[in-house]
C-alpha cells in the first residue's frame, strides 16, 4: 500500500523534476494501494457505537491487551506523570467511571471491577461545539474526529468534554514513544489528541484495534441497523452509559 509519506515523496520529486501531476498519478496507479481504494469494502455504518461487556474482562491482561493494541498502533506517548499523561483508552473503577451515578450499594464484585474508558463519540458532542477551528468535527457516521494538524491547542474542548477523554500534549510527545509505528502519524507538542474509533481501520473495512484485541468482549457496530449484532446485544442486556443526564448522547455502552 502507498503510504502518505511515499505519496508526498513522489509528489515532491516529480514536481522537482518538472514532471507535474501526471507522473504522480501514473506512479499511484501502479501501486497496489490504488486497488484498495477502488475495491474499498469499508464498514458502512450510519451510527457507530460500542458495547463493552464489563463482565467478560477478568484479568489485568484482558485490559492491557486492549490498551496496548490501541496505544502501540497510534503512537500514543507513554508519560508516567498522571497530570500530563496521554491516553486514548484506559481503565478506572466503577465509582469514578460513573461519578455522580454510581450506586453505593451495588455488589462488591461490580465495585471492584475495572471499566474501560475512551472517547464516547457523543451524538451531541460538546467538544465539537466549542472547537474554534473545526479541528474536532463529526463524521456523518458519528465518529468524533480530531485533526491534530489543524488544532491550535486552545484546550477549550478539554473544558467542554465531561468525560475527561481528551489529551493535551503538555510534553513533546515524540520523546515518549517507545516503539514507533511508521504507519500512523506522531504528534507535535501543544495539540489535543484522542481516540477516533480507529477511523483509519473502519475506512478499510476493519474493526477498531481495541475491539479486535478484546476477542469478543467489546462489540462494535451500526446502531441504526436493527439486525446488527450491537443492537442484539443492547436489547438482551442491561446497559449503562456515562453522564447521560448531560444530553451529550454518549455512544459507548457498558454491560454491567
Amino acid at each position: 500500500m502507498i503510504t502518505r509519506r511515499d505519496f508526498l515523496k513522489i509528489a515532491a520529486f516529480s514536481s522537482l523534476l518538472g514532471l507535474g501531476g501526471a507522473f504522480t498519478i501514473n506512479a499511484l496507479e501502479k501501486e497496489p494501494g490504488q486497488k484498495v481504494l477502488k475495491d474499498i469494502k469499508a464498514l458502512k455504518g450510519k451510527r457507530w457505537a460500542m458495547v463493552i461487556d464489563t463482565r467478560k474482562f477478568k484479568t489485568q491482561e484482558d485490559f492491557e491487551k486492549v490498551i496496548r493494541a490501541c496505544h502501540k498502533a497510534h503512537n500514543v506517548p507513554e508519560i508516567a506523570n498522571p497530570l500530563h499523561e496521554v491516553k486514548w483508552i484506559w481503565t478506572d473503577d466503577y465509582e469514578h467511571s460513573f461519578a455522580g451515578t454510581a450506586e453505593e450499594y451495588i455488589s462488591t464484585e461490580v465495585k471492584e471491577r475495572k471499566f474501560l474508558l475512551l472517547c464516547n463519540h457523543c451524538d451531541n458532542a460538546p467538544c465539537v461545539r466549542v472547537c474554534p477551528v473545526k479541528a474536532t468535527f463529526k463524521r456523518p457516521d458519528g465518529i468524533t474526529m480530531q485533526d491534530m494538524h489543524r488544532c491550535i491547542g486552545c484546550k477549550f474542548c478539554m473544558a467542554g468534554c465531561p468525560y475527561g477523554a481528551r489529551n493535551y500534549n503538555f510534553l513533546p510527545p515524540r520523546d515518549y514513544i517507545k516503539e514507533l509505528n511508521p504507519e500512523y502519524p506522531t504528534r507535535t507538542i501543544g495539540v489535543v489528541e484522542k481516540c477516533t474509533f480507529c477511523n483509519e481501520r473502519i475506512d478499510r473495512g476493519l474493526l477498531p484495534y481495541c475491539v479486535e484485541a478484546s476477542e469478543g468482549k467489546i462489540i462494535f457496530g451500526d446502531l441504526y441497523d436493527p439486525n446488527s449484532e450491537i443492537r442484539k446485544v443492547l436489547s438482551e442486556n442491561i446497559v449503562i452509559r456515562r453522564k447521560v443526564e448531560l444530553g451529550t448522547q454518549p455512544m459507548v455502552f457498558y454491560i454491567i
Binding site: N81, P82, L83, H84, E85, D92, E95, H96, S97, A99, G100, P126, R129, V130, C131, P132, V133, K134, A135, R150, C151, I152, G153, C154, K155, F156, M158, A159, G160, C161, P162, Y163, G164, N167, Y168, N169, F170, L171, P172, T188, I189, G190, V191, V192, K243, L246, G247, T248
Partner: protein
C-alpha cells in the same frame, strides 16, 4: 499627536524601559514554554487545562468593558462631569482588551496556527465570537478616543461622524463581557460555571473593578501631571463601584443559595473547595479568604460617604476591590470550574513562575499601550480641556 509620546521626563522613560524589559522577559518565557512544554512551565494539567492566563482574559475583558461607565453617562446622558475622563476610560479599554486578547494567544499550544480561527471560522464556537467582539471593541475605543482627543487638541467639539461609533462602542461593551461569560456558561460538564447568572455576575464584577482601577489611575495622573480628571468624577466612579460591588456580593449569595438549597453535589463541590477545601485539598482557601476580606474592606469604606469621599481611604478601597476581584476572577474562578474533575477527583493547580512572567509580559504590553496613550492624552489635556460641546472645562 503620536509625537507627544516621544517627549517626556526621565521618570516616564524609566517606566517605559521597565515595561519593555518585562515584555522581553515574558516573551523569552513564552518561547521557553513552547520549547520544553507546558508541563514544566505552567501549573496546568489534563484535569485543569485553563488557569492563570484564561483568568487574565476574563478579568481584563471586564475592566475593558467598564469604560462604558464613563462613556455612556457622558455621551448618552450628557453627564458633563465625565467629560474630562471619557478619553481616559476609552484608552484604558484599549490596553485592557489587548491584555485580554494576548492572554488567549499565549495559552495556545500552536500559536502559529492562530489564523485557523479566521480561516475556518466556526460560528458555533464562542472563541470565534470572542475574537470578533474583542477586535471590534479595541478598534472602536481607539477610534473614538483618538478622534475626540484630536478634536480637543484643536479646541473644537468632536466631529459628528464619530457619534455612531461612540454609540456602537457603548452597545459593544456589555457584549464583550457577555460573550466571555458564554465561554464558561455553556459547558455541560462544568456545573460551577454553568449558571445563567454568569454574564450578569461578570458585568457586576467588571463594573466594580474597572472604576476602581480608573480611580487609582486618575489619582496617579493628578500626581504626575498638571491635568486633573476632576474630584467630582473620581467621587462618582467610587459611587458606581460601590453599587457594582454590592451587586457582585449579592450574586455570590445567589450562587450559594442555589447550590446549597438544591443540595446537588456537583454544584456545591466547587464552592466548598474554594471556601473550605475539598477532600483535604485547600490550596485556594487562603486565597479566597484574602479576596473576601479585601472585598469587605472595600465595601465598608465605599458604603460610608465620608470614607468614600476622602481620597486616602478611597484609593485604599479601590485597590482592595480591584485585587479582590482580580484574585477571584483572574484565577480562582477558572481553576475551581475544573474541580472536581469528570471522575470526581480533585487535582489542584497553582501559578508557575514561568506562567506568571508570561502574564507579566502581557500586562506590560497593555500597560505600555496605556502609558503611551495616556501620555498623549494628558499632554493635550494639560493645555486645554474641552468637552464635547467645544466648551472649555474648568476644574471643580
Amino acid at each position: 499627536m503620536l509625537d507627544l509620546a516621544l517627549k517626556g521626563r526621565p521618570r516616564y522613560w524609566i517606566w517605559v524601559s521597565f515595561l519593555i524589559t518585562m515584555i522581553l522577559i515574558g516573551f523569552i518565557c513564552w518561547m521557553r514554554e513552547h520549547h520544553i512544554g507546558a508541563a514544566f512551565t505552567t501549573g496546568l494539567s489534563r484535569d485543569v487545562t485553563w488557569g492563570f492566563h484564561v483568568g487574565q482574559l476574563t478579568f481584563f475583558v471586564g475592566v475593558a468593558a467598564s469604560a462604558v461607565l464613563v462613556v455612556l453617562p457622558y455621551y448618552f446622558h450628557n453627564y458633563r462631569v465625565f467629560g474630562r475622563i471619557a478619553v481616559i476610560g476609552e484608552f484604558l479599554a484599549v490596553g485592557c482588551v489587548l491584555i485580554a486578547m494576548l492572554s488567549v494567544f499565549v495559552i495556545m499550544g500552536q500559536p502559529s496556527r492562530v489564523w485557523n480561527v479566521l480561516l475556518h471560522a466556526t460560528p458555533h464556537s464562542i472563541i470565534f465570537w470572542d475574537m470578533v467582539v474583542l477586535i471590534t471593541y479595541l478598534s472602536l475605543n481607539l477610534l473614538c478616543g483618538w478622534t475626540v482627543l484630536h478634536a480637543e487638541k484643536k479646541s473644537a467639539p468632536p466631529p459628528k461622524w464619530i457619534k455612531p461609533f461612540i454609540y456602537w462602542a457603548i452597545l459593544w461593551a456589555p457584549s464583550i463581557h457577555t460573550v466571555t461569560a458564554f465561554l464558561y456558561a455553556g459547558l455541560p460538564g462544568r456545573p460551577h460555571w454553568m449558571t445563567a447568572l454568569q454574564a450578569a455576575h461578570f458585568l457586576a464584577t467588571a463594573f466594580a473593578a474597572g472604576p476602581s482601577l480608573l480611580i487609582i489611575l486618575s489619582m496617579i495622573i493628578r500626581k504626575v501631571s498638571k491635568f486633573d480628571p476632576g474630584q467630582q468624577a473620581i467621587n462618582k466612579l467610587a459611587e458606581i463601584a460601590t453599587y457594582a460591588l454590592i451587586i457582585h456580593l449579592f450574586f455570590i449569595g445567589l450562587e450559594f443559595f442555589t447550590a446549597f438549597y438544591s443540595q446537588i453535589p456537583d454544584h456545591m463541590k466547587s464552592l466548598i473547595y474554594l471556601y473550605q477545601g475539598l477532600e483535604g485539598h485547600n490550596r485556594l482557601v487562603p486565597w479566597m479568604a484574602v479576596s473576601t476580606l479585601l472585598a469587605f474592606i472595600g465595601l465598608i469604606i465605599f458604603i460610608f460617604p465620608p470614607l468614600r469621599k476622602w481620597n486616602v481611604t478611597k484609593v485604599i478601597a479601590a485597590a482592595c476591590v480591584f485585587f479582590s476581584i482580580w484574585m477571584d476572577k483572574g484565577f480562582a474562578f477558572v481553576v475551581s470550574g475544573f474541580i472536581p474533575n469528570p471522575f470526581d477527583r480533585v487535582t489542584e493547580a497553582w501559578i508557575a513562575l514561568n506562567e506568571f512572567l508570561v502574564a507579566a509580559g502581557v500586562w506590560s504590553v497593555g500597560a505600555l499601550v496605556i502609558t503611551v496613550l495616556y501620555k498623549i492624552a494628558i499632554t493635550v489635556k494639560e493645555k486645554a480641556v474641552f468637552d464635547k460641546y467645544g466648551q472649555k472645562q474648568v476644574v471643580e
